[in-house]
Each structure stands twice: as structure tokens, then as C-alpha cells.
Symmetry: C2
Subunit: 454 residues, 2 copies
Amino acid sequence: MAQKPSIPKGTRDFTPAEMARRNYIFDTIRDVFRLFGFRPIETPAMENLSTLMGKYGEEGDKLLFRILNSGEYLRGVDRTLVENEDYAHLTPAISEKGLRYDLTVPFARFVVQHRNEIQFPFKRYQIQPVWRADRPQKGRYREFYQCDADVVGSDSLLNEVELLQMIDEVFARLGINIVIKLNNRKVLAGIAEYIGHPDKLVDITVAIDKIDKIGLENVNAELASRGLSAEAIEKLQPVLEISGTLSERLGKLESLLKDSETGSMGVSELYEVIGKTEALGLRAVLDLDVSLARGLNYYTGTIIEVKAADVAIGSITGGGRYDNLTGVFGMPGVSGVGISFGADRIYDVLNTLDLYPADTTASTRVMFTNFGPAEAEASLKIIKTLRSHGISAELYPESSKMKKQMGYANDCNIPFVAMIGESELADGTVSLKDMTTGEQLKLTPDALIGHLDF
Amino acid sequence: MAQKPSIPKGTRDFTPAEMARRNYIFDTIRDVFRLFGFRPIETPAMENLSTLMGKYGEEGDKLLFRILNSGEYLRGVDRTLVENEDYAHLTPAISEKGLRYDLTVPFARFVVQHRNEIQFPFKRYQIQPVWRADRPQKGRYREFYQCDADVVGSDSLLNEVELLQMIDEVFARLGINIVIKLNNRKVLAGIAEYIGHPDKLVDITVAIDKIDKIGLENVNAELASRGLSAEAIEKLQPVLEISGTLSERLGKLESLLKDSETGSMGVSELYEVIGKTEALGLRAVLDLDVSLARGLNYYTGTIIEVKAADVAIGSITGGGRYDNLTGVFGMPGVSGVGISFGADRIYDVLNTLDLYPADTTASTRVMFTNFGPAEAEASLKIIKTLRSHGISAELYPESSKMKKQMGYANDCNIPFVAMIGESELADGTVSLKDMTTGEQLKLTPDALIGHLDF
């Protein structure tokens, strides 16, 4: 019996119409990456598990898709591991490779492995799918694309300025109004010092990172449960409630953290990044968010998060500066800063706001109908000329009923239909129908080119 | 201790220089696909093993990369399967998904699953990686890209004519001289009838398919060992030795196979495909090769194989017509014809012949050197203007020694270096160095745009 086909849960097929919309996003991001001098790399879908394991926390290790070794994978494997269901030891024995979980760890591995071929500062972009064995739910997939751009091997804050410009350019091109929230890990450390709990930096950041979701009161409760004194929590309140314009808030933060060397350095970095970015001009709204942490212990300087101004959907782009990206692979002291565009959420935002250009789903510019062998032959000759002018064109391959042929053109969003029937064949012309207006013209082949060319 | 990083054998990283060359190939193929009205789809890297198994023969099943089930994958699995190393039953119990092995089976699955969303004839292209647990060797990888274009749901030979035009266009754009070899499965069946062994069609095609590799004598020996009579082998010789121009050979084949209905139909299809293709004009050389089989029992009509005329590297593109692509998934009667471009071999041919355009590896058009904060700020303003004109530009992020900055530009193949130092800052100009000629100019920002624009 024939199987009823399906795909693994959490994965997706993309039809031509969906591909057109997705490619519009990827092409926009890629064009901007290139415009800013970033260069592409690609890494294999499979990495050695030794490269991936231990890089994403215990939870992340569980979410790795593992490749079963080929051949007789049980040969030489201790059977007691099976009897005891000792997955911790059995799994590495029968599986040596896993699917890429993100683009950052493979990038770090790449930088170390190719250190002698790379020009530093290395500005790379990478647009590839990643796989996570997460529980699938709305908007969360087991296979999804990441679009990352990073600069490694340079401490200069000009890199942050460039990345912010790049974010601004991508979303301006896509027509999405955004707010770029900024913070700095050193500010978070300064806050912990300021309230007398430098030892509780992680607890503080974990708690205040949730302020948008759970509100200030619940954050305070969590801080107390994490062992912060009432005094410290009270001292924290003015920091979390800083208000005013961006420059007023920066000023208040500066004066609050003036006794913390780390905190002051964080404020000074924010001043520099914001100042230089604003001097160049930005369409996006820049904002300071001292509760922003993103990924906790990963970032060491600037922290960036982008939200759509007109759709409530969470972060659509994020990033920041990290130290020691490659240390775990034996190459210490490589600092970097990067951003990652969330293609799937951007896709949802564009769909919600209906921001795709009108011609996004169009493929072929003109379809020729097929009235029979002689007409088809004449059509193919003109089609060849159109293509040599860069105009995408196709012939309906069967001389089916006209309704079917026109239906195909309509369903495929083809804007023009050209017809060569008996009379056109006789006088060497082409009838051209504009599928949007319904208007029909009789043209010479030369006039047809002019009409269809952009 | 830090790990020394590596990637799984048979897989590859692609550096920016390699990416530039690969993208040149993919972009060329994609542009031509679009020009001919083909539309993109993508399918997940992972498919259910029920979709993949049994589609590639017993050998193919072994070469599938399998994903280990997540969580406690041994729960409920019969332990005797482990004790007996009964892989045939154990593997399906602990692994339900596998990596895509080619693009054809996922495409068939896609067509059946989305039959109600698809417009037939469905002209789709798909450019994605596939994975095979093959023994890695020179030119054979465990992860490689396929570039497929197929038309399904149309029996018209005009589709063959279009695909041949498309092959011609791709290789003309790449500058590779090619020979397109054609055959037809019905001709092979006709030959089997003609020599009195219609029952031995598979044996005959398997043997004569090797004629290029092992020569006529060895083919004859193999035919004898496969049970063909001396008489039949003798009768086959004039077929294999057909000579003359393409049209002479077609004529001879036609008269040899005139008593076989199937064979005559095959010849008539070849006439139609070749005649219509030649009427439209072709830069490639079209050739008839009655020994061409490709994939044995897969193709049912036209068979296509492309070789580079100037490099001995085997087939660089292949394809053909097949019946019943989707039958195994419960949708009978869908005929189609398709081709697949071998990107890795095309890459090797372009490297061998050094056919890449001069600017393939260039990324950024102009790099601005960095002499310090004030100069960098002035540079970023001009860079912003350049980018708004579509000119890719970047600032070296650190005010390092000039030798280092120029070395970066050189290593990255950046054709122009712009310098804003003290004097340029004073008079509002930019010094521009052409990295190819060494020529240096002092320009106003406006003149700079004109100079760098294409």
C-alpha cells in the first residue's frame, strides 16, 4: 500500500510562494551584509559532537540532533550500557556527529581551524539552517534559518556602530519600524556593585531581564528569593525606574554608577556607541534598557536587541559583544561582536503588516499560451529572444484548453500572457494580455520586448 | 585542555573566497532557472525514514544518515535486538528520521503532500545540500549540493527542448564548452528487441553503459557472461558502432530499429527533441549516445548527460524523463522530466580552466583606512553616502599600522583603498588608491562616488 507522506514535526516545506517571500528577506539581509563589507562562509550541517557538546548548557546538549554512526554501530559497545540505559555513556558510543545547533559555535570552530587563512579583523556573515530538538510550537521550529554577522579580532566600538547602522538599513529596506534596545554587560556589573551585591550579578540579571514579562513587583520578589537584601532591592529601584529622554537617562545612569569603575566604563561605552551612531543618523529609535541581558553569561560588553514597533512579537534581532569566542577551541583572546537576524519572526512581522512588495510572488514575467505545434515553435523563438533580454518567459508545454492555460498563469501570478494563434502566426505579431488590467494589445516581437522590459 | 577542532570527514568548510566562487555558480544556475520560469521550493533536511527507505536500493539504504531518536530512545525496545545485533529491526526502533539523500524523493513527497496547492505542470527548482554516508574520496563528499529542475505533470517533449536550452544557457554563461549526449530508454528497449533479447534489457543496458570505461571487447564479454547468445552480441555490434553525423546516425538507428514499435517511438522522440532544439539554435554540441543509460530502471524516455568538452571529469549534468515519480506515495500517473547540475564538478571544471570572472572574489569595493577617531568619523559619513549609492564600503575598525590595514585590503581583494588623513580632513577630500594599478587620486566626496560607481 502506498504511504501517506508527511514530514517530521517541527519541520516545514516551502512552496514557491513562501520561497519568494523568504528569499525577499534573505536577499535583503544578504545585500546589506555585503554593502557593509561582510563576507560569507558556510560550515557543514554535521559537526563532531565533541565540537557541540557542553557549549549550550545541559539543556542544549539534550536538544542536539545526533547522527547514528554508520554500519555496525553496536560493535565493541559495552552491553551493560544498554542494559542500564546509561545514555550518558551509550549515546557517545553510537553517535559521533550532531546537527549544527546554532551558527556561533561552528563559527568559533571555523575561526580556530582556519586561523592562518583568515584576515583579521574577520567580518563574516553566515545564513544557514540550524536544528534543535525543541518541543515544536507556534513560531518555534526544529529546523530554522539563522542570519548572523560578526566581526572578530577587533575591540573597536566602531564595529558596534557599524552593526547598528546595518540593523537600521535592513529594517528600513524591509519597511519595518523598529526600536533598538541597548545595554552593556559592564553596566549590569556596575549595578550589582552599586547595590552592594557584586557576587549576585547573575541572579540580578536573570531576575531583571524578566521585567517586561512579569513586572517590577514580581522581579523584586524574585530578587528577594534569590537572596538579595531589602536594602539592595530598594537601592535598585531608581535604576530600574530611570526615565526621561535617552540622554537624560544616560546621564542619570552615569551619576548612579559613578563609584563603580566597571559600571562607569559600561556607561562610557554606551555614550560612545550611541553618540557615534546618532551622529551618522538612524531611522530606527535607539533606546537604553538597563534590564536587557540576553543569554546571561555570554556577552561581555554591548548588548543589542531589536523589536518591531508595530507588532508585539518579541525580539526580531539580537546580539552583542563577547570575549574569548574561541578559547574553548584553544585560541584565547579573540574578542568579537555580532548580531543575528531572526528570519522566521521577521517573516511573521512582514506577513502581519503585509509589507511585501507587490511583485514578490511573481516568477515568470510572461507566459505564452500553446495553440499547437506550429504556434508553439514560433512562440519558443520569441521566448528565446525575450530571455536574451533578461525577461523571464515560458511556454505552456501542452496545447490544453485555454481556460486551463490561463488558470495556470493566474495561479502562478504571472503578470502577462502572450498569445500566438493562427492570425498572429499569419501576420507575425503577438497578442499580449495584461493579467492585472485585462488590457490586450497586438504587438510586433520588437515592441513586445520594449513592453515587457523594466 | 582545549580541543583541537575538526569537522567530520567528507564534509567541508567554505571560506569567503570559496563561497564567492560557489555563489557565482549557484547564482548563474538560479538566474537561468528563473529566466525559464522555474519556481523554487525547499524541503527539510530531515525526512521520515519511511519516506527515504527503499527508494535508493539496498546500497542506498545503507548510505542514509540516520538521526538518533531524542530522549530515552531505548525505552520499550526489545533487548534481544541489541543482543543479536539485529540492525534491520533495531535501527528503525531507535531512529525515525534521516537526512535527505537526494532532491528527487523529497520532491516526489512534496508533490503528493501539496498536490492541492500546486499548479500543474509544476516547474520547480531546488538547490539544497544532500547527505550520503559514502566512503569519502577525491571529488566525493558526504555533504554536497544538488541543483535540480523538473517539470512534472506534462508529457510534452517541449519540456525536453526547454531543459536542453536551459543547459545550453547555463554553460554558455559559465563559459564551459559542453557536449550534450542524448539517448532514449525506448531506444534501449528497441535494441534489446532487435537483438532478440527483450527479456535482457537491464543486462544489456548495464553492460553497454560501461563502454566508455571498459571498451567494446569487455562489454561483449560481459554480455556473454550475462547470458546473451553469440548471435545476439554480433547483431548488437553495428548498433554500438553506428557512425557519421548526428543526422546520419539517427537515420541508421531508425532503419535498424524499424521493426520494433518501442524502438521506433524512441527514435521518433529523439528526432523531435533534437530537431526542435536545433531549430532554436544551440551553442553546445548535441550528440547521440545509444549506450547512455544513467540510473538504469529510473528513466522511461529521454536520457540526458552533459560532459565538459575540455576537461575529462565525467558527467557534469544529467537527467531524463521518468514515469510515475509519485506512485510510491499514492499518486499514480505523474510523469516528469528533469535535470540536475553537479555543482561540485562544475566548480572543479571552472577551477581547472580558470574561468571565473576577475571580480568573483572581490567583496567590498572600497576600504577606508583608519588614522584615528576624527578621521574615522569623517570616513564613516562618506561611507554612509557610498552605501546609499549601492557601493559596498567598510572602515578598518582599528587605527593600526598602515601596513596592517593595507595588508587586510590586499588579502581581501578589495580593489580600492580610500584614505582620510590630516590633510584630507582639512580640505574635505579623500585620497583614493587603485590597488591594481597603484594609481592614487585626490578626490572630492562627490567625485569619489562617480569614480567607484560601476
